[in-house]
Amino acid sequence: MSASAQETHDPPAAGREQALRQVEQFIYREARLADEHDYDAWEALWTDDALYWVPAGGDLTVPAERMSVIYDNRSRISTRLAQLRTGRRHAQDPPSQLRRVISNIEITGEDHGDIIAAANFIAAESRERGVELWAGRVIYRLRPAGNELRMAGKQVLLVNRDQPLPTLAFLI
């Protein structure tokens, strides 16, 4: 590839900066909605072909044939949120007190028009049982829709996913 072709395909620095800012703002908002149990607003972030995946263990091949902590399509996300909204989901009644910090946000790629972004997080979850510390990497598949982004995929790779995990009933 020649130097001039490189420049044509590479968005100018200002455009890259703007895209990253938009991705960051989306990720921060998604985290806040999850922390605050704003189920309606969080659900509205998803596209119809959504995939919300929290793998268990190290094997990330053939997820449809392997046990995952969460492997929700759009319909399963709705069911999960509907259960939370009943107020009788005991593992979230009362809801966990939550705050997460998200950092190391990068746009790592592009796939069929979707932006692939990755970040690290640490979340503190407080329940009567005690404070649980959660940490890991999140890989987002974000889809530009007009001036906004929607979430088509969220994969949460917990650092301790190969170990026994305590109950994880909030939106990680």
Partner: protein
Amino acid sequence: MPVDGSGQVPVLAADRPDYRRLIERARVHSSVYTDPQIFADELARIWYRTWVFVGHASEVAQPGDYIRTTIGLQDVIMARGTDGRVHLLLNRCAHRGNLVCEAQRGNAKSFRCPYHGWTYRNTGELIGFPFNQGYGGKGTIEAELSLARVPRVAEYQGFVFGSLAPDGPDLAEHLGEAARELDRLARLSPEGRVELTAGWLRHRTRANWKLLAENETDGYHPQFVHGSIFSVTGSPIGALYSDKSAAVTRSLGRGHSENDLRPEFRKAGEPMRWFGTTADRVPAYAAAMRAAHGPAAERILIEGAPHVMIFPNLFVAEIQVFVIQPLSAGECVQHSTAVQLAGAPELNRRMVSQSVGSVGPAGMLLADDTEMYERNQRGVAMLAPEWLDLRRGLARERIDERGLRIGGATDETGMRGFWQHYLSLMEGA
């Protein structure tokens, strides 16, 4: 904790609690869930003596395959030898006691301890060690220093059990009436084989292991604990566990118990209803079952899978398998996976999907059970009323045509059977 008002736990000569005074026919004392001494006693008298489920043959399908598993607090290697047999070894080098295997699974016909290089066959024999002149050369001490073997290993329908006691009842005697429930599960495979190959979720649970074992066939809790998900999905499961249900709770003897839902499924008479679907939505599976079983297929497809707790740690809940791993009086780990049926790819993917939604740390069913276990563990630490009540359905129990004790769908018949067997193991010589 005081039992008789004297402020003292009554003890036997060897400083052991008098279990007859802690476990009665229709109530159990709180201390059996909280006392570290009782937990230590359980390790010796239950976990290191009776048959304990360790894994499934399909998890070590090839010669040289191994996985790490547990019996009580013991770290156990389950390996398939080149002889094709499954071997259970304690994961402890005979030299300095280091863990020999670190990976959760792998394929190796021999293991080499990372500390000093001692090398063992996957059947336990010590092959040798570096610089053997320090031990007087080759063939001097190898025979006396092997990996410790779990003295008894046996399988049933591919479910592998180990017993750390060199003798005692054999596996067939231990399983007793529960064996036919594993047969029922295997029969749902067109090839007659269950496989546990979808991987395990591990759920850390701050509760005594017995709260889980009791709950597995407690038909009284589903409408309360799982009401949220039943109402959202319109699930008919709740109705199976009501006072109007024709289902029964059966004590199978030796601490095993089941919720027998077949009376309800027979009433409906619809193949695959137990799986929440119809035969025409899984046509390849239904055809394979009819080819394999002939006219008997209809009954098999109507009656579905078992819901059976096998003492002390294996629970088959229709399409899921759970294993309870005790850690201490107040903590355990629940392992869960989806049943996979050989020759039923159409069903296997659905079973994984349903299981992932239901079980494990985020499961829409099991996270709520686990919340109950953990609150229950805090509750039983309270001083009074001291006892947990087990009398539900006692007055309406009866003996069925197989000579087994049954109660209604919501009765505590299974729990009473669990405690009777527990008591026989704990108070024995």
